[in-house]
Structure formats: structure tokens, C-alpha cells
């Protein structure tokens, strides 16, 4: 246990370093001491620097922390619930639902005449469309979870939802003019930097509720490691637990997708990374570890996406996969076996 507290402190230390690194990078180079001054509202030599730090880079770093930790935790929840190492935050079709919502708004407008074309450019429209999409998928999945006894069947239903919605998105794309298509593709790249402090606040509330729900699931998640029958024999209420876990995941992954777009790989890869580092399967240890590691990895990915020293920024969704995929491949080759 003493060992584990050390891990925790090291994790927090790295998180702070990663946050500082993330804030210090960007298209405008700002000296480190000026950054620290800006954060603590001290006198800064250039007012624009303070503005960039406080209104742009800091909310972006916070978003990265919320997005990374939330997705990583959703991934862990799904891997344990479905007892499947390949499960991630989006296995239930949440991101597909969000994509469909956004695709309908962006591309459907041209197809169906559109209500007010100008409205569709608004960020909030996209957030609402994407939340609605996720929410409808969530309702369908929760409904199914009450009817279906077998958790694996639920997994397959989630996958079916995903292919169904992506097929509809394909049809929409096929008939869309290039301008709308590009707009949709830009959304699907994901973005951390578009959020104002108010939006970060809203995202934080969803994130917090997801985290609190997950904490209440910790004991049952541990019993689920033994399989559903054993869990039941230990007094676990399987249906209630399944509901809570799916609900927590939806809150986390749904709100993140709504604000930052679909972000790949973090949710799948981080729990596996953490299992390699931390010698424990206890969710009491894994949940905080995954939250920390997810936040750190996301900050690093975002820092790389800035391409330090240049004015270019790469799409964050591509970076997470470019980093995530080799990591998982490396793990598989080294360990030969991926366990949940």
C-alpha cells in the first residue's frame, strides 16, 4: 500500500509537469516565468500573453485533463463490465450516436433544406446535436440492458448501433456538398481548444458526476473481475451495477464527445498501460491511476499536436491514435496477452 501511495504522488507530480509543458507550448512562444506570473495574476510584461494563457491555453489544458481522464475511466469501466480487453468508452455506440447527430445537423441541412443555415455553424448547435445523438443511443442501450440478461449480447448490440449509425453517416456524406463534408470531418478530428471557461465548467460538472458514480461502483467492479456468477454469489446486484456503470460511462464519454468531438484510443489504451505499471487489479487503485494516466497522456498528446516551434496544429484525434496504436502493439508483442 505504501508503494501505491508513491505511485500516486509520482503521478500527480508528472501531471503538474505535463500541464506546465502543455501551457508553455503554442504558436506564440511565451517565457516560462511569464506563464507562471500570468497564472497567478501577477504583473506580466505583455498583456496579450496573459490573455493567451488565461483565456486560451489554460482552458485547453483543463479540457485535456477532463477529456483524457474521463475517457480513460470510461474505458476501464467498459473493460471490466464486459470483461473484454478490447472494450473502450465507445463500445456502446455513444460516439456513433454523437456523430450521427452532428452529421444530421451539418450535412442534413443541405439535404433537407435546412431551417436556418446560419444557425448550424454555431458551436452550441453541434454540442446539442452530439449530446442528443449520444443520449438516444444511451436510452436504447439502457433499455436493452434491462431486457437482456447476457452482458455480451449488450456489447454486440452496441457494435450494431455503431455500424448502423456510421452507415447513415456515410449515406449523408455521399450526398453532401464538399463544404459541409469538410465541416463534418473537422468536427470528427476532435478539438480541445474551442472551449470557453463556461463550457469547461459545464464539462467539469458532467465529469464530476461520472467520477462520483464510478466511485460507488468500485466494489462491484472488483467482484465482476471474477465473472457475473461469482459476483452474484458475493451479494452484488448485477442489474443495478450494470445500470450505474453504463450511466457513468455515458455521462463521461457523452459529454466529452459533445464538447471535444470523438477522441480515439485514449479510453482503450490507458487502462492497459496502467495495468502494466501498477501491480494491482483492485479498482480502488486502478480508478485513480487511470484518471491520472489519462489526463497525463492527453496533455502530452495535445502538446505534440501543437508541433512545438511551429505555427501548425495537428488534429488531436489523429495524434492520440498515432501514439496509442504503437503502444498497444508494443504491449501485445511484449506480453503476448492482453488481459482485462
Amino acid at each position: 500500500m505504501k508503494n501505491l501511495t508513491t505511485y500516486l504522488w509520482v503521478g500527480i507530480f508528472i501531471l503538474i509537469l505535463a500541464t506546465l509543458l502543455n501551457i508553455s507550448l503554442g504558436s506564440v512562444s511565451i517565457p516560462l516565468d511569464e506563464i507562471v506570473k500570468s497564472i497567478f495574476h501577477l504583473e506580466v510584461s505583455k498583456e496579450s500573453w496573459q490573455y493567451i494563457i488565461l483565456e486560451y491555453r489554460l482552458p485547453k489544458a483543463f479540457t485535456a485533463i477532463l477529456v483524457g481522464s474521463g475517457l480513460a475511466l470510461s474505458g476501464l469501466l467498459m473493460q471490466t463490465l464486459f470483461r473484454n480487453p478490447l472494450a473502450g468508452p465507445y463500445v456502446l455506440g455513444l460516439s456513433s450516436g454523437a456523430s450521427l447527430g452532428v452529421a444530421l445537423v451539418i450535412m442534413g441541412s443541405s439535404l433537407f433544406g435546412g431551417i436556418a443555415a446560419g444557425l448550424f455553424l454555431s458551436k452550441w448547435t453541434l454540442v446539442i446535436a452530439s449530446s442528443l445523438g449520444s443520449f438516444l443511443v444511451l436510452l436504447a442501450i439502457l433499455g436493452a440492458s434491462f431486457k437482456i440478461k447476457d452482458t455480451m449480447a449488450l456489447l454486440i448490440i452496441g457494435l450494431m448501433f455503431a455500424s448502423l449509425t456510421s452507415a447513415v453517416v456515410s449515406v449523408l456524406s455521399y450526398f453532401s456538398p464538399s463544404q459541409q463534408l469538410q465541416q463534418y470531418i473537422f468536427w470528427s478530428f476532435g478539438s480541445l481548444g474551442n472551449l470557453s471557461w463556461t463550457e469547461v465548467g459545464i464539462l467539469f460538472l458532467f465529469w464530476l458526476s461520472g467520477i462520483i458514480l464510478s466511485i460507488f461502483c468500485i466494489k462491484n467492479l472488483n467482484s465482476l473481475l471474477l465473472g457475473e456468477q461469482y459476483a452474484k454469489s458475493l451479494g452484488t446486484n448485477l442489474k443495478q451495477n450494470r445500470f450505474l456503470v453504463i450511466f457513468a460511462t455515458s455521462l463521461l464519454a457523452g459529454s466529452i464527445t459533445a464538447f471535444a468531438g470523438p477522441i480515439a484510443f485514449i479510453g482503450l489504451a490507458v487502462p492497459h498501460l496502467v495495468r502494466q505499471i501498477i501491480p494491482s487489479s483492485n479498482h480502488l487503485v486502478l480508478v485513480p491511476a487511470v484518471i491520472l494516466a489519462g489526463a497525463i497522456l492527453m496533455l502530452i498528446c495535445d502538446s505534440i499536436a501543437q508541433i512545438p516551434g511551429s505555427e501548425l496544429t495537428l488534429p488531436i484525434n489523429a495524434i492520440t491514435s498515432i501514439i496509442g496504436a504503437p503502444v498497444v502493439i508494443w504491449l501485445l508483442v511484449r506480453k503476448k496477452k492482453l488481459m482485462f
Binding site: R83, L225, N282
Partner: protein, 273 residues
């Protein structure tokens, strides 16, 4: 109805002379909506007893065990757990009375042995599942009883089938229930380890005074070791001592008689020549 909670008795210290009934059934009929599997079952399982449930494939062994652990509802009659009808007992309370060991090994192999055995303490731990020092003692006791202390820090993926079986048994012991039920605990094991596991169950039932019930196809070994046999055959369930079961010739027509035959002198089945 008050079920005493968290009454922890040191597993080694339970040498109660009086044989108390842990589980009994009255006029129990088991089966599914469209099919009755067996009727009028009268069982009486006492503490310190080792019982084997035997019967051919599809005879209803699992149906019986599932009904006892409240996974299936009886068609008629009742199951009593320490004299309380099981329909009045919550899943949480049952978890303090009955622990199980299954044949399937689809649990997370990432678990370390000690973690896995600790999960047996869940019925007693708080909402976060944090172990108290009492829980830790129970876990160590369970590991000691099965003699797997040296595996404590190994990952389950590094264990053999036989070791896994022992570890799962240790987990059930850590749950500290008066009744342990095992589903075919010897399935993947060679003959030596089959005998080893069954002898260990025998020893445990005596030292811990727990009632241990296991479903098995090892009829020969069960006849040699068990205090009682529960025979499930053709919609009938009989609970008897091995001697009486043989004397009353219940085993003669257990299997179709064209290939094997029960030999009451050697207490085993012989292939017909």
C-alpha cells in the same frame, strides 16, 4: 427473522459437537417453466458433512444446485437455509451463508492470488470494499488452510489448473460461509489431483465444520470419501450414505446397462466384457 450478521468465528475454532442442519428442503420440486426436472426432494445437510451430488449428464444436478443458491425458483416446496425459507433471505444475506466454486475459469487472470482470495471478504467489507485487519486475517487463514501462501503474490495467469482450483477454494473459505458448494471441482484435473482435491474437501469439512457439497462425475472417489451422496436420477433425488446407496442398489440402474455395470464389492463401475 433475524439473521446474525458478521458473526465471525475463527474457521479453525469451530468444533461444535452438535450437528446443526445448515440446509434442508421440503417437498421441493425443481425445474423450469415448461419442464419439471425432479419432484419431492427432501434433503438435510448438516455442518461438517461432505456431500457429493452425482447423476448422469442432464439429470438435473445443476438445476438442483442452482435452486439451492436461489438462482432458480422452486416449482413447489421450499429450501431452508439455517431454518429460514430461502425466499425470505436477501442476496446479501445468502452471500454470508453460501459460497460457490465454479467450473468456469473466465475470471480476470490479471488478478493476483491474494487479491482474488480477498474478494471473498466482500460480503463483510464496507461500500468501498476496504479490508479491515479482521478481513486480512481471514484471507491469510484461508490461504494457509489450502496451503497456497507461497502463491499469494502470483498472477492467476501464471497458475496451473490445479493451483487455480485451490485458489478458488481458498476464496470460498475466505467468504467464511457455513455452506460451500462446488460445481465439478475435479473436471480439468488428473487422477492424482482429483483425489487430492477431494481429500482436501474431506479434511476441510472436518476441521472447519463447514458443510461442503460438490457436484461430480467421480462416483468411485465420491463413494469412498463422502459422508452422504445425493443421487439425482430419473426425476428422483435420494440422499443416502454411500453404504446404504450401494446396499439398496440405487447405483445399478444409474447408467444404461449395455456398457458398464456397478460392482458392489469393489464399489466401482466396471466395463462389461
Amino acid at each position: 427473522m433475524v439473521v446474525s450478521k458478521k458473526k465471525e468465528v475463527d474457521v479453525l475454532d469451530m468444533k461444535n459437537k452438535e450437528a446443526k442442519t445448515i440446509l434442508s428442503t421440503q417437498h421441493l420440486s425443481i425445474g423450469y417453466e415448461d419442464k419439471v426436472v425432479a419432484q419431492n426432494i427432501e434433503l438435510n445437510i448438516k455442518k461438517g458433512e461432505l456431500l457429493a451430488v452425482i447423476g448422469v449428464n442432464g439429470s438435473g444436478k445443476s438445476t438442483l444446485l442452482k435452486t439451492i443458491i436461489k438462482e432458480l425458483t422452486p416449482i413447489a416446496g421450499n429450501v431452508f437455509l439455517e431454518e429460514v425459507a430461502i425466499e425470505n433471505i436477501s442476496a446479501k444475506e445468502i452471500s454470508e451463508k453460501i459460497s460457490i466454486v465454479l467450473t468456469e475459469t473466465h475470471f480476470s487472470k490479471n488478478l493476483r492470488v491474494e487479491e482474488l482470495v480477498s474478494l471473498g471478504r466482500q460480503p463483510y467489507s464496507n461500500w468501498l470494499g476496504i479490508l479491515t485487519s479482521k478481513d486480512k486475517v481471514a484471507v491469510q487463514n484461508a490461504l494457509n488452510l489450502i496451503a497456497v501462501q507461497d502463491l499469494a503474490h502470483k498472477k492467476c495467469s501464471d497458475l496451473s489448473d490445479g493451483q487455480l482450483q485451490k485458489v478458488m477454494l481458498a476464496r470460498a473459505l475466505a467468504q467464511n460461509t457455513p455452506l460451500i458448494m462446488l460445481d465439478e471441482p475435479t473436471t480439468h484435473l488428473d487422477l492424482y489431483h482429483k483425489a487430492f482435491v477431494l481429500k482436501m474437501l474431506k479434511k476441510l469439512s472436518k476441521t472447519t465444520q463447514k458443510a461442503i457439497v460438490f457436484a461430480t462425475h467421480e462416483i468411485d472417489l465420491a463413494l469412498q470419501l463422502c459422508d452422504k451422496i445425493i443421487l439425482v436420477n430419473n426425476g428422483e433425488v435420494i440422499q443416502q450414505t454411500p453404504e446404504n446407496l450401494i446396499k439398496e442398489k440405487h447405483l445399478e440402474n444409474l447408467f444404461p446397462s449395455d456398457l458398464i455395470q456397478f460392482d458392489s464389492i469393489s464399489k466401482s463401475f466396471k466395463i462389461k466384457s
